[in-house]
Structures are given as C-alpha cells and as structure tokens.
Symmetry: D2
Subunit: 241 residues, 4 copies
C-alpha cells in the first residue's frame, strides 16, 4: 500500500464562498477524493490548523508521498516543520507540489531558488502538451489536452533545470510555462503540477486526475532502499593503501 | 574586469601550525594569489571575522564571482548573510565552492539537499578525470591528472544531479567522487571543486590552479543580463483574449 | 506480461573454450536464465546467425524490452536491422545494452557519439557505487558492491550526458567509469550496464542480476502510450488565428 | 579568430521567386552577412552543389563552427559527408542547426532520434521566451520577444532532452516549442534555433541575429582541448595491481 498524505493550508475555504462552492470539504478533500478510489493507496489529510501543521515525525515517517496545496499562508508554516518535511523528502518520501505551492517554503527549500514566475488571473483556458509520453507520470495522457479555465503562470519560472520536463503549458494570453516537472532531491522525487487554482475546476479534468494518481505512485518512497543516510559519514578505507 | 571576492572562514589558520605553514597568509590569500596575476580580474578577500562576514550588500553587488572556503565554522555564518549571498547568486553572481564548503550553509541552501558525503583523511593520492574536455572550466586540463595527497571525499554525494558533471575523482582507498560539477541556480552559476584540504598543497597544482582561474571567468556574472528578477511578478496580458 | 528478447552475437562461444565453460548455452541463455524466473516476464532469445539476426518486424513489435550483448561482430549486424531496432526504441521498446555493446551499431546510432572508452583486461576487481538509490533500476542495491574480476572500462566514455547517472565504477588500476546509465530516446528507455566480459562471471553476482531484472521492468514499453508517432506531421491549427 | 562556415542547400533559391526576393544571394549569404561584421570571425560559405557539398576534410578541419540550413534536399547530402561532419563535431567543431535543419541527416545522426515535430505554415507570429538569461547564447536577449511571421513548429519535438533548454516558443495557433536548445555531443556543442523559414524575414530580427552571433562564439571549437580522441583506446594501467 502507498500511504498518501494530502496537505492543504485550508485558508481560502474559510473566507471565500466561491472556493467553498468548488471545494465544499476543502481542497484537501477534493484532492484526497481523487486518490482514495485507488486500491493501492491509503489516503489521509492534514492542514495548517492542526498541531505542527499535521506533519509530525510520526505522520511523515508513515507517509510515502505528500501532496502540497498552499497559497496565502506559506509564511505561516513554521521553519521547523519545513525542515522536517525536507529531511523526509531527502530520506525518500515523495512530494507532489500543486499550483501556488510553487512559492511554498518547502518547494523553495528543496529547489534553492525563488521559484518565482509571472502570473495573471483572467480565467483563460490552458493547453498542456505531453513532452514525455513514456514517463510514468504521463501514462494515459494524450499528446495535448485543454483546461477550460486556469490562472496563467508564465516563464521565466525560476527553478533549477528539472531532472525531467514532462509538460509544457500554452495560454491564449501569449505565454508558455514548464508546468509539469520532475525534480530529484536526495532519495525523494518531487513532481510539480501547475493546474489547481482555488476557484476553478481543473481537478475535475480526467487527465489532471490521471497525472495526480500517476504522480502518487511514481513519487512514492521506494520499498527497497538500502541506505537512507542524510548528511556526511566517516568511511573506513575500502582498500588497503 | 571581473570582480572576484575570495571568502575564507580563516579559523584553522589561528590554531593549527600545519595550516599556517601551508597558508602563511590564510587560505584566502593562497587562493587570491592564484587569481591576482590574471589581468582581467580584480581580487579582494573577506573572512568570517569581518563585520557581516565581509559580505555586505555593497560587497556582493560589486562581486562578479565569489569563492568560498569554509569548514569548522559553517554554523557561525549568520542566516541573513547566507540569504544575502543566495539572492546575489540568483541575481547572477557566480559562486565557486571549494572542498569542505560542500557542507556550508550557502551550498546547502542553493542545492536543497544535505550535500553529505563519505570521507576519510589518510593523505592518500587522488586522480581527477576530465569528463567534459570542451567545457570552459576544463580548458587546458589533460584527460586525467594526479594530486599527491588529498582528503578522500566519496559517494554517494547528496547533491542534485549537476547541470554538468566536469570531473570524476579516483582514490586508492577504493572510492570515487563527482568532484568537479556545475550547478545553475537562478541567473548564477555554481562550480564545486573537491580539492583543497587545509593542511595539503593541492592549490599548488597547476591544473587545479587552471580550473580555479577558468571557473572564475566562467561563473562570473554575465554583463548583458536583460532581467534579474528574483521572485514572482504580475504580468499584463501579452495578447488580447 | 513483459516480453523480453535477449540478443547475443554468439560468436566467442563458437571458438573460445573459456567462454563456453562460463556460458555453456551461450551468453544469451546465461542472460535469459536470469530473467526467466520472473513471473511477469516472457523471455526469448535471438542471435546473429538467425535470419535478419532474429530481429524481424514481428519480433520487435512483440518485444517490450531488448537486451543486447555484442563484441567482435558489431559490424556484421546489417544497417537495416539497426534501423529497425532504432525505430522500435523510438516507438517505445526498451533497450538494455551490456558491456562491449557500448560500441554496437545500435548504441552508437541512438547516442550519436562514438561511445568510445579506454580499456584493458587484467582480471582486476571492480567496485560499483549506487549513485541513485531511489531509481527503479537500483532498487535493492547496496551503497556499493564488488565484482571479483572484470574488464576495465575507463573514462572519458564518449556518451552524451546520461538522462540519469545510476552507477559509478572504481578499478584498482586507477580508473573510474560511468558504468550504469539511463538514456531516453524517443519513447524508449535505454539502460547501459558495464559488467559482462565474456570469460568472467559477473552475471552470477546477485546485484548485477537484480539490476538486469530491474532494468527489464523499468525499460519495458509503457502500456498506456497514447501516441507513438516517429517523425514529423502536419498539424491543423488548434486555435483560430 | 573564429572560423565560421555557413552551409546552405541553396535549392529554394533556384526555383522560388519569393525566396530570392528575401535572400537575393542565397540563405547562406543572408546568414554570413550577420556574422561577417564581427571582428573575431572569419566567415565562408558552402553549398550542396559544390564538390563534396563543400565540406571536405580541409574545410572541416579549418572550421570552428558550422551553420546548417537545409530543407528539401536533406536526402541529397551523401552519407560519407554526414559521417565526416559528425566526426568533426565529436572532435570539437561546433554546429548551429537552423529551422528545417531539424530533419537534416546530420542533426538526426547526432541526436539518435527522428527529430520530428508537428508543423504548419500560416505566417503567424511567434513569441520566444528566454529561459536561460545567463547562458552565453542568450546574452543581450530580453525576457521575451516577437517575430512578425514564422512557420509553426510544435511539440512533441522528438529530440533527446537538451543539455540546456534556452528558449521556448509560443504561437497564436495554440502551440509551444522548445525552439532554442543546446546539445553536447563528444567535444562539440550543438545549438538548434527554430526561426528561419525561407520566405520570411526572421534573420532581420535583431535578437535572432544576436543569438546567431552568440551561438557562433559559444559553440566554436575550444582552443585548449588536450585530447580529441574519438573512439576507444587501450589504456596501460595507471596503478600497479
């Protein structure tokens, strides 16, 4: 079984009726509902309001892949929680960062860059091109597909070169974006997925749902890791010199 | 002219006679002396003991490439200095990280990983293979060359995949290491160079000297950057929709 | 089920008693015997002497991953067979290239480089470091392990930068090698694995066996490819302009 | 001095008045005229009609960087000429492949893939985003710029992952393209640049001109190569075993 934890800051939901109408049980439940039908997945949720943001050592050590949705409350996640999640990723836990999570502390921490981009919100459509059709995350995804409405995220996206560029986004307002990417850090795999604005319905799109399910399986902690060292270690000589 | 700043924690030099004998004016002066004869370089130094570690906004904004040697005092570099250096790199300043700088706060910050490795110090020799002979940093470097004595740094080196792997190291004690690497972060280029243990004389080796000179030129802030944005920005639509 | 085809030039076996003693049924059968016990694999073999080298359109279209062992007879594989295999890889068939297959026509064709290296054969030992412990091909592999005797392959290995560097090799004669690598070409995945000299017993090593089994699963043609276009195509406009 | 050779198939120019009106002396002279004013460049041209396509051993060994424009006559370039150019690139000569050169034999040979793409020709505009502002090829290029009219080349572009993705293209017809890329093969650097349809005027654009000039300097054969081996070589042991 793959143990999935879906984290959501769960702030827009408290104040914005439009968000509540799209995500009546919160974005975390919208996301969890996509993954729960998968027979190989155990899905739970965690939010900012919980003690330690719901991301205790116990939760992280029993999580194979963590989904992350955040936006207006990035700065409210304590640094010690970010450090704990970073260490979990470096030890092999997967991380799927969604939409505005591009500027979350944890994504910035793992990337080492600002993760900034250019943006506007006009409800325009978005077309996503499948650049890596044989990659596990892109299985079952056609050469391109359309979302009816999304927030525009445009280049330059201030990320390190991805280990694998999976999807490229086109917007009618004249922009492009490296919207689906794999990054490898330590023993963990990180997938960034652009769609997911809080007032829109991209998570109802069948291909986005497929990408999230694929990402959960692909990024999940490998079962046969022989060594999860994080940090340096003295080494006895392997050969006599 | 390329403005080079060589930073050294300058701690071993205060307490260890062996280090003083190899680096009578400090490791920063050993390194600066390699670069000063280059007619296109202005070289200055900075150390941990200086106010703000000698790395004020003024110094960084007038630095094209920063060399970094640190070891036992990594934790003494204040986080705000690290943040300042990180922002300078993302804005285009180059960074050359030397030897034990692999666990400096600034390198960890930019990599997002622990940057840990396996190590021992037996004074054994080290052979470096030139994996990328046409890369600017490896110009003038033979297919392989030998250092008489170095500290062993061995794999797995917990770094993200380098944007370019430049040199591989062999040690008689049975180890290998990705010892010369390029990383690109934001608008800045980062070169890591393994040799440089404080009691040894690798900086007298002609090829290591050549690599450091090449790295200074290659990583130096480009002169024709059109945009040095760090972080996100609202974007007016480029097309009518 | 994963349909595996193991290809072997099967030449040394005819003339060299030492090779026959290690591989009594040919190298192809040695390799096939590693994979056959896997319940999700259908394994067959093909050799140079068969019509069309045993690699007809029918065989390739029903192969999910092709293993390749060749050495002295690289030039005897007809160009049209090489072209056929290349097209199969670009359409999604996996390819696992073994040892001296580094200079096979098909590997050179897919890499675009000479794939040359430096070599000698002294029966020395070889240590392989696991650089990517969370990669599917390296599951179950310890941080490093030893082969009792192998042919030395050393750098510079004239390959394009691998999409993922998986294993690094150390030899007592003073050399290093990027010995386990992933390359992605078209829709196909290519894994190169250094060990496998014809007179030696590396294929009896449990970790090499594990790597070959893992590679078969990882490189196998994905089941949910939506588009296997090879070459260019006219595109009707997706938007009115 | 950088020795530049501009190669053009020079076929459209013979039969198509529109092409002659845009390139009165042939596309090779249009391109050469961009580079000739640079004081560090010696520029000559070669075309398909010349003996050995104008690409003799003498020409190639005295060329530091080769520009390539071809389209309808790709199949007329003899394989032995392609092999000669490939070997020159692997030995350190740079190659700048323009527009429809994506399906030239030499580009396919060096990439190992079909280099296919999706296309149409509607005279629509094209916007190019600078993804790597600090890369030498992108010096002086703004965050994005517009071409008035180009042929559309769209994804999936069947290339190996570029060593560096430099520019992304947006088209109003709903497409995106990885239009400026660096590939490293052997000791040579290869830059692909999308614009340059034969009936259009992209080579009059100041930023495209700047990119071509930058590419000539960046891809030019390095002056300090220590070893230009192509292929394998026996290696005497570096250490006693």
């Amino acid at each position: 079984m793959i143990n999935v934890t879906v984290w959501n800051e769960n702030q827009h939901e408290k104040t914005d009726e439009r968000v509540r109408s799209v995500h009546p049980n919160g974005l975390h439940e919208t996301l969890a509902a996509i993954l729960r039908p998968e027979k190989d997945m155990n899905v739970r949720t965690a939010t900012l309001d919980m003690p330690e943001c719901g991301l205790t050592e116990d939760v992280l050590s029993s999580t194979d892949v963590l989904f992350w949705w955040g936006h207006i409350a990035h700065r409210q996640v304590p640094d010690e929680v970010v450090t704990r999640v970073q260490k979990a990723v470096l030890s092999g836990m997967g991380l799927v960062v969604l939409h505005s999570g591009h500027e979350s502390k944890i994504f910035q921490r793992l990337m080492g860059t600002s993760c900034g981009l250019r943006w506007h919100e006009l409800g325009e459509k978005e077309r996503i091109f499948n650049i890596a059709p044989s990659h596990p995350v892109m299985q079952g995804i056609p050469p391109y597909f359309m979302l009816e409405a999304e927030e525009m995220y445009g280049e330059r996206f201030d990320i390190p070169d991805p280990e694998k560029l999976l999807g490229l986004c086109w917007y009618p307002s004249g922009e492009v974006f490296r919207g689906i990417c794999e990054f490898d850090r330590g023993l963990g795999r990180i997938i960034y997925v652009q769609p997911g604005h809080e007032t829109l319905r991209s998570y109802e799109n069948e291909y986005i749902r497929r990408i999230l399910i694929n990402a959960a399986r692909y990024a999940a902690r490998p079962q046969a890791l022989q060594d999860t060292r994080v940090g340096s270690a003295f080494a006895e000589p392997l050969e006599k010199i």
